[in-house]
Subunit: 428 residues, 2 copies
């Protein structure tokens, strides 16, 4: 963890280094992923079986390529009533929030009698990647699958690695709740490649979403254009802007809720109260000692954590914009003026009673959010990621007479005579 | 050009081959682009100057790195009144169409008193790539720059190669009309890399859009994630669905309006009238002979063109969906029932008086559209490509009491105790 003070002489340089610090995949991952994608494209199921044996230590021909929907139902019924209710509450709230994202079609006729518009349609098939092993998150299943269903996607495929053949019952239960149509026991870059190109067993999909390790993220990046993808995902981040009236234990817990994800996660506190900063730092250390995820949180906080002192909270906001964080908490009495200053953030959590983690699970907005400063140009997952827009145009002879000559002039100026002719021939 | 009949025995196989035919970049382009990107990232302006000398045959230090806005105004004033009016008409109609794409913010409070919503904001800076040389298209300037301006982008940068140092006055005039803020005389993969990473001369942008050759497209693909991009663009395509009551000369001109773009372009006609098909084929041959772009059109039509006979036009529509074409003309009296069958197309042109080329220039919808079957999952360029959404959430103690326990249960089930603690600590 580094401590910075925005009024110090060296602050600008130190903060710029923090903004530019890369915590992402290296070239070796890229080369290995290229090789895996090529193998899956060329060899299909044979490559999937080989790579699953290599990375996940089981033989798909023995353990089974698919997971039955009946198994998902059984997993759901095997949960405690409390967990079933929690999953159902989360699914319901996520569905309500995302249903409101469905865009409206347009169909206008202008003063020249020219009809213009746009129609939105869902993709035919979507694939959701769900990590296996340590990072097996049923919440990710809901956050990826429910927007696809809300978009109207007919075929929803889930892939998830099952290391040593073991499945995660919570993930299966979430797949049941979300209404996933097909499940395959494959993971890694090879699973993304299979979804993109298709194999004999797995029919191709149009969009692949969902979190994963560096290999999965790199595979999505490389396959972008062959399929649609949500966004290249990097390590998780939180920025907390908090005044001294917060309980330091609460803010420490918020910082640790990202730090516990991964050693490469990042948690940053901006505060205008030096004594509060000290208390939070102490509370972080004390809480880490009690966490089962303490080792990960320790590494993340030591390597990537930061506490930054500012003269007042508004001073923090342009600095927050430079970080363009995935998650931003504004923990103060009236968060609205600070929120109005935000230009770049994936998701914002307002006030003292809105810990980021409540948004990870049950609030409704998506928890798949742009990382690594990508909130400068990217948005969280939404129904739009599973839909596309077809523009349309309809002219009659008088509409074409009104605007066609300008098209002819421009086409001729661009040296495209067939373009010009296709309009001019109708103007005779 | 191939002729197919959907009722022939071998049709399914032949059509599948047509759908799967790749007309895109190879691995050599990818490797060269990786090298160029690395050079620009590491060496900045030095690499830009070297690569421009190599590819565009001029020295930026002598010819000048930038193009002044005064030069753009002068180019505009140097146009014929007819061309100035055509550019203005196009810009006005494109601005009106795209302004209506601006999404609305959401700010709702639900039955639990939980406030949820989303705010849209423009990216800070956008870069528009404009090809130079043969394919120097002022219409591309308008189609990329105007949506960025409609989104509210403050800094709009244009890059365009100027082979041998020569600028294209039409492109400059279009930059003036569109209100481009900065122009640089660089092109190719090196220009895209400069926009993404920034150099001493060119400050980085957040989104890069615009068409280009295979190198430009590959650079955008590789830099996706470092910046936002519109969509990987491949060769242009048109599918025309036409009955026998069309003038074969009109339909031939429409097919050639794509074929003249590039040898890799593709034009496909579906018709239910074999005699009409013959007439269109003959008209294509006759028109090619009259075109200054005839050699390109000839190559494209011979290599990639197709005429496909169907028993009736509705039979064509599922086949069109498999092609997911960039442009789709429905040339018949009542196009609406056919349009209602379309699931995957970039843009649709309805009726006999709506040639695709009118949409390329002046109608209003964007001409930057998904190619290579990407209309299955991608949309044409819009203001959304220059904006991003920040979700937000605000809970009070009673809202957190209502949904917090479910978040705690899920976080504990996922093995993330700090997530659970950050909620539970506020419920005490």
């Amino acid at each position: 963890m580094i401590r910075l003070d925005s009024t110090d002489a060296g602050f600008t340089q130190a903060f710029t280094a923090l903004v530019n610090a890369r915590r992402e995949a290296d070239d070796d991952v890229a080369r290995n992923v290229t090789h895996i994608i090529k193998r899956v494209r060329d060899e299909g199921d044979v490559a999937l079986r080989d790579l699953t044996r290599l990375f996940d230590k089981h033989d798909l021909d023995r353990s089974g390529w698919t997971i039955d929907r009946a198994d998902c139902l059984a997993a759901y019924e095997g949960l405690t009533p409390e967990l079933r209710a929690a999953l159902e509450l989360a699914a319901e709230r996520i569905a309500v929030y995302h249903a409101k994202q469905r865009p409206e079609d347009r169909d206008d006729t202008d003063a020249q009698g020219i009809r213009l518009g746009a129609r939105w349609t869902p993709v035919d098939a979507a694939g959701v990647y769900v990590p296996g092993g340590r990072a097996a998150y049923p919440s990710s299943v809901l956050m990826n699958a429910i927007p696809a269903k809300a978009a109207g996607v007919r075929r929803l495929v889930m892939v998830t690695p099952t290391p040593n053949g073991e499945v995660n019952p919570l993930v299966l239960a979430a797949a049941h709740v979300a209404g996933v149509d097909e499940l395959y026991r494959v993971g890694g870059a090879q699973a993304v490649a299979a979804l993109a190109y298709g194999t004999d067993t797995i029919a191709p999909v149009d969009v692949v979403t969902g979190p994963g390790n560096a290999w999965v993220a790199e595979a999505k990046r490389q396959l972008y254009g062959v399929v649609g993808i949500d966004m290249v995902a990097g390590p998780s981040e939180i920025v907390v802007v908090a005044d001294g009236k917060n309980d330091p234990e609460w803010i420490a817990a918020d910082l640790l809720s990202q730090a516990e994800h991964d050693p490469t996660s990042q948690s940053i506190l901006f505060t205008d109260d030096a004594a509060f900063a000290d208390k939070v730092a102490a509370a972080v250390d004390a809480q880490i000692a009690t966490l089962s995820t303490g080792a990960t949180a320790r590494t993340s906080w030591d390597a990537n954590g930061a506490i930054i002192l500012v003269p007042d909270l508004p001073t923090a906001m342009p600095l927050v914009d430079r970080l363009a964080p995935e998650h931003l908490e504004l923990a103060c009495d009236d968060a609205e003026p600070l929120f109005d200053m935000v230009r770049h953030a994936g998701s914002v959590f307002l006030g003292r009673y809105t810990p980021e983690a409540v948004g990870d699970y049950v609030a409704g907005p998506n928890h798949v959010l742009p990382t690594g400063r990508r909130a400068r140009f990217a948005s969280g997952l939404s129904v739009l990621d599973f839909m596309k827009r077809t523009s349309f145009l309809s002219l009659d002879p008088s509409g074409l007479a009104a605007i066609g000559p300008a098209a002819v002039a421009l086409a001729e100026a661009e040296g495209l005579p067939a373009h010009a002719k296709s309009v001019a021939i109708r103007l005779k």
